[in-house]
Amino acid sequence: MIAWVMYDIQENKPRTKVAKLCKQAGLYRVQKSVFLGTLTAHEKDTLELQIEEEIDEDTDSVYIFPMSKKELRETVLIGQAFDKKLVTDEVRELFY
């Protein structure tokens, strides 16, 4: 599935940690506190549990939104846009 992860976390340390977890899960950073990418159901559950351990549930909020490919195609992007092919795992090769 394609998943959006967005968060609002008060403390620096857990915020940095959550960002790291998202990157390790293979998500791409589209904004400071917004990540997007393709996850399997299993990977989504893992990420959910990992994030739960880091944050303070009384003050912080984290959203994990699944989205269908169809909806992603209809998404409107204005300004600095992310690479749709990259987040849907359609990019097969990267060159450095």
Binding site: K23, Q24, G26, R92, Y96
Partner: protein, 335 residues
């Protein structure tokens, strides 16, 4: 996805359990992070560096690291040292390399290769009515060579090896002559050449074969076969190499991709560099070829054994079928 690291001075290491690639840019090292499980293969050209922790992370995630030299030939790979499957397959493979089972298969693969070549020519004929007689003549000669191969008989590969190589070589010459003839004038080439390629077409083809070679090696290991126990071919170091035997029917993938890039006029002078005695593919050329090749092999599907498959999956299935036939010889003749 595949990671191609070509930039001179790049460094691949591990940061926070992810691969970090540092690429020199404007005098600084620009870092890029990638999650380990998103990567399938890392292809590193000469002039790049790698840390042992990156090797460890790759092994843990079943990522293979392939080292390639300038023209795309793989020179080595890092892969966990476990066998893909049971040792019994390797024992039987060794036995087959010295008995009539090997003869049967090597004939099958090479006849398959020739079939692919002549089918490709027939396919090209459809849109080139002005070249009908020329193509028909080549196709007929390839068909005759195939009949000669069919007729070869022996109890060990070594008995028919020389004749087989001769017939295969003649077929190759005819085939590449035809491909060259069917290209636009500025792209034509004079037979196969490598180290270095004498023309842009060969530069592309060598790199594509290199990619295919790496892919076949991986496929064979996964199927539990030994890439070094060959039936017919010897590689540069005078070892028998099975990769060169098994690759034959699949060379057509590389040839179709390269030919289509040229016939669609996608290739221009910006894709190759002129080097001493020949041509070499540059960064831009590699990107064009690698993207087209991966799309053809890993993305586009063909109808295969009743299902829609990528060519890559079909290849893996063939390797498993072959490996299984070694340990469970078919009751009735399937070949």
């Amino acid at each position: 996805m595949q990671l191609h690291i070509n930039t001179y001075g790049s460094y691949l290491h591990v940061k926070e359990k992810m691969f970090e690639i540092r690429v020199p840019q404007d005098g600084k090292m620009k870092p890029n992070h990638l999650a380990a499980h998103k990567i399938k293969t890392i292809i590193m050209a000469t002039g790049t560096a790698l840390s042992t922790d990156a090797v460890k992370l790759a092994i843990m995630h079943n990522v293979d690291i392939v080292f390639v030299e300038q023209y795309g030939d793989p020179i080595g790979r890092v892969w966990h040292s476990k066998l893909g499957s049971t040792t019994k397959i390797r024992k039987e493979q060794l036995a087959a390399s010295m008995n009539e089972v090997g003869v049967k298969w090597i004939k099958y693969w090479i006849m398959n290769k020739l079939d692919n070549q002549l089918n490709f020519l027939k396919d090209l004929k459809k849109h080139r009515s002005q070249h009908h007689t020329f193509i028909d003549e080549k196709v007929e000669r390839l068909q005759n060579l195939n009949i000669s191969i069919q007729a070869l008989e022996g109890t060990r590969v070594i008995e028919i090896a020389d004749t087989l190589r001769g017939l295969e070589g003649t077929a190759g010459r005819l085939y590449f002559e035809a491909l060259s003839y069917l290209l636009a004038k500025e792209y034509r080439f004079n037979g196969r050449s490598n180290r270095p390629a004498q023309d842009a077409f060969n530069a592309f083809l060598n790199y594509a074969y290199g990619m295919l070679y790496g892919k076949i090696e991986r496929t064979l290991i996964i199927a539990g076969l030994d890439p070094y126990v060959g039936f017919l071919h010897r590689d540069d170091y005078n070892q028998l190499s099975f990769v060169y035997d098994f690759i034959e029917p699949y060379r057509i993938h590389a040839e179709s991709v390269v030919f289509r890039l040229f016939s669609a006029k996608k290739v221009n002078q910006a894709h190759t560099n002129i080097i001493t005695n020949g041509y070499s593919l540059n960064q831009e050329g590699k990107q064009l070829l690698v993207t087209a090749f991966n799309k053809y092999v890993e993305e586009d599907t063909i109808r295969y054994r009743g299902r829609n498959q990528t060519r890559s999956n079909a290849l893996q299935m063939d390797a498993h079928t072959f490996a299984n036939s070694l340990i469970n010889p078919p009751q009735e003749e399937v070949l």
